[in-house]
């Protein structure tokens, strides 16, 4: 299985149903995967903090959810994490496609990437970086289960070492 197929399989096994996201090129196989499988309820959002609110609401209604975004979208998420998901103990599972590292071509993508892990650490949000295909199943599944079992947000960061990252087409 590809890394994306493995994550989709972990979603199903962990009981994830609602997936809210803001598009990203690296996330295409995950977005297509949740669009094409009736096990999932895909909810495209206009902004990442909105997606966190939707997934938090679904959790309170009894449905497990996940949020997918790229690094810059994490910057749009911080108040929703700090004033909603973390203090209310919402198990919001975030899948973050990492840009701004390992050969990034866009200079304005690099700074937010540097804030990603320090900000997650400051918020006390557990995060795991997926870099090797043979580790994806164990790390993704365990992180999802920890998120839902402990009712705490968690982040899976998809390194370009795993995904290949985004190539400069310009």
């Amino acid at each position: 299985m590809t890394w994306a197929e493995t994550i989709l399989s972990c979603f199903r096994d962990a009981g994830v149903r609602l997936v809210s996201y803001v598009p990203d090129k690296v996330l295409i196989p995950l977005i297509d995967g949740v669009q094409q499988d009736d096990a999932f309820l895909p909810v495209p959002a206009t902004r990442e903090e909105e997606a966190i609110g939707i997934v938090g609401g679904a959790y309170m209604g009894g449905v497990r959810g996940a949020v997918m975004m790229q690094t810059s979208g994490f910057g749009n998420s911080i108040n929703a994490l700090a004033s909603l998901a973390v203090p209310y103990q919402f198990p919001v599972l975030m899948v973050i496609s990492e840009r701004g590292v390992l050969g990034e071509f866009n200079p304005v993508q690099t700074l937010i990437a540097r804030t990603l892990r320090p900000t997650l650490d400051a918020l006390g949000v557990y995060h795991v970086t997926l870099a090797r295909e043979d580790e994806v199943e164990f790390l993704a599944m365990r992180t999802m289960l920890q998120c839902y079992r402990t009712q705490a947000p968690a982040a899976l960061i998809l390194s370009p070492m795993l995904t290949g990252g985004k190539e400069d087409v310009g």
């Binding site: 609602l18 309820l41 909810v43 495209p44 959002a45 206009t46 902004r47 903090e49 909105e50 997606a51 966190i52 609110g53 939707i54 997934v55 938090g56 609401g57 679904a58 959790y59 309170m60 209604g61 009894g62 449905v63 959810g65 108040n79 929703a80 700090a82 004033s83 909603l84 203090p87 209310y88 103990q89 919402f90």
Partner: protein, 205 residues
């Protein structure tokens, strides 16, 4: 565009009403376990004044603008339950994209109630864009929520609530309100607020 000293869209938007009175009228109409997600500040203060410990109430303490998004998540998770989001004009303006997301997801069981007093009341009554330029009902219609309407008066508000309780949404009900401060307070305890709501809507035993 016609404006007046008391704001834009005077004739379309109806006269100014009391948020607490309308909140009481809303809650009194709910007899089927409808969920209410209340946005920050005076919106949730008046829900607390009307029915603080109602188990199907959820109170946001931060995350300005996300009441509609949280309510959308609840509505998608529980399609058999009617869900009402309560938002102020300033909060909705912070997250207008939520209107498009609601329209695209089209949950029949979701209603957004907007209390529009044309100001950021809790930070000192600074005017919002609805004071000069923006009609939130027209905005919602443009986003794709066709069943969006101003409540002309208290009776009209109740009529719109009844339509939202039984019809096929999503709906948006906007009411022009006065600047009376919110009268109650929810407990400032996020986990307690979440737990009571989840038990209230049957998601936790």
């Amino acid at each position: 565009m016609t404006t007046s000293s008391s704001g834009a869209f005077e004739t379309d938007a109806g006269r100014r009403m009391s948020r607490l009175e309308l909140t009481r009228r809303l809650v009194a109409r709910l007899d089927a376990g409808e969920a209410i997600v209340a946005g920050i500040g005076n919106t949730n203060f008046d829900l607390a004044a009307a029915a603080r410990d109602r188990p199907e109430n959820f109170y946001m303490m931060g995350s300005m603008g996300l009441a509609t998004s949280i309510a959308l998540g609840v509505a998608l998770a529980q399609p058999e339950r009617r869900v009402f989001a309560l938002e102020g004009d300033g909060s909705l303006l912070m997250n207008l994209g939520a209107l498009s997301t609601v329209a695209a997801s089209a949950p029949e069981n979701l209603t957004i109630v907007v209390w529009d007093n044309e100001s950021y009341q809790i930070t000192g009554n600074q005017p919002t864009a609805t004071a000069q330029a923006t009609d939130l009902v027209a905005t919602a219609r443009g986003a794709g929520i066709e069943a969006s309407a101003w409540a002309a008066n208290e009776e009209d508000f109740e009529r719109l609530v009844e339509r939202a309780r039984h019809g096929a949404g999503p709906f948006l009900i906007a009411a022009r309100i006065d600047d009376a401060a919110g009268a109650g307070r929810p407990e400032r305890d996020p986990v307690l607020l979440k737990d009571r709501f989840m038990r209230g809507i049957g998601a936790r035993g």
